[in-house]
């Protein structure tokens, strides 16, 4: 699965174990709807393949505005709605030199501490 728009790209590979998602560029959307829909599709695919964990690589992600942050929050909400034994966790890989990532993902891990881990902080 892939979503590529002006300025950013999101690629998802469910054939790997664990499944991998890579976000790159600068995600600056004006409305969250389409990204929310995309993450909904990713969620369905991950549930469909029985994933226990997904790795989300943000190391090439230059920026994420708050409107683009909402679909990530919504995605975690979808996982949280699954029966406990059907949930998968999300491991974010961040880059130290991208200074916005640590506090941003730190806050996201406070929102969903049982689902989110942050690597590289």
């Amino acid at each position: 699965m892939e979503r590529a728009e002006s300025g950013y790209r999101i690629r998802v590979d469910c054939t790997q174990s664990p499944p991998q998602m890579a976000m790159s560029g600068s995600v600056r959307v004006t409305e969250p709807g389409e990204l929310k829909e995309f993450f909904g599709q990713v969620h369905s695919a991950l549930v469909g393949c029985g994933a226990c964990e997904v790795v989300v690589d943000l190391r090439d992600l230059d920026f994420l505005n708050s409107t683009a942050f909402k679909p990530l929050v919504h995605w975690l909400g979808l996982i949280d709605q699954l029966p406990v034994d059907g949930r998968y966790t999300v491991r974010f890989r961040i880059a130290k030199e991208r200074h916005w990532q640590k506090p941003c993902l730190g806050a996201l891990s406070c929102f969903s501490p049982l689902l989110v881990t942050v690597e590289g902080a």
């Binding site: 600056r28 505005n65 916005w100 806050a107 929102f111």
Partner: protein
């Protein structure tokens, strides 16, 4: 019609300042963010802090452009190393309903004792709603460690984000 303007300078007391005023354009917001970050770095603000200040500028400008009524939005930034202070102000004119919405969000954010707590609360609400959430403003308070002040006079809106140039350690992660 007024033109888009960019002005910047340095005062003899060590302060550095810049102002950008432009017609609302989503594309320009990211340019403004990069400009603010470069300006901060040029003013010897540490890279990590510069990134946070630039993020705050982006979020404030995003709101200003989204809700601008008369086609103008502007950002003013003042860096004051001797006083260890940064002051970021974004101004625009917005619709009456947007001004009302901002007052509600402002009240909640400025009364919050813990910026992280209100940020996480807004994330929980965001997971359930479609419209504006105030997440960008909460992000500024927590991630950029800047205090917010709001001034709404009729449809004229001014949002100020300010705080020390030095960084504080983020609160430890809370486990449920």
């Amino acid at each position: 019609m007024r033109k888009d303007t960019v002005r910047a300078g340095k005062l003899s007391n060590g302060q550095a300042w810049m102002e950008v005023e432009f017609c609302p354009s989503w594309g320009f917001i990211d340019d403004a963010r990069r400009f603010v970050e470069a300006f901060c770095c040029h003013s010897r603000v540490p890279a990590e802090r510069a990134t946070q200040i630039a993020m705050a500028a982006h979020e404030l400008l995003q709101n200003a452009v989204k809700y601008s009524e008369d086609g103008r939005a502007g950002v003013k930034l003042r860096i004051d190393p001797p006083k260890d202070w940064v002051d970021l102000v974004v101004e625009n004119r917005c619709t009456a309903s947007a001004a009302k919405q901002l007052k509600v969000a402002a009240s909640r954010l400025t009364k919050a004792a813990d910026p992280l707590q209100v940020y996480v609360e807004l994330m929980h609400e965001t997971a359930r709603r479609e419209d504006g959430s105030g997440l960008g403003l909460a992000r500024i308070q927590y991630e950029a460690q800047l205090e917010l002040e709001f001034a709404v006079r009729g449809r004229a809106v001014s949002v100020r984000a300010s705080g020390p140039l030095a960084l504080r350690e983020q609160p430890a992660r809370k486990r449920a």
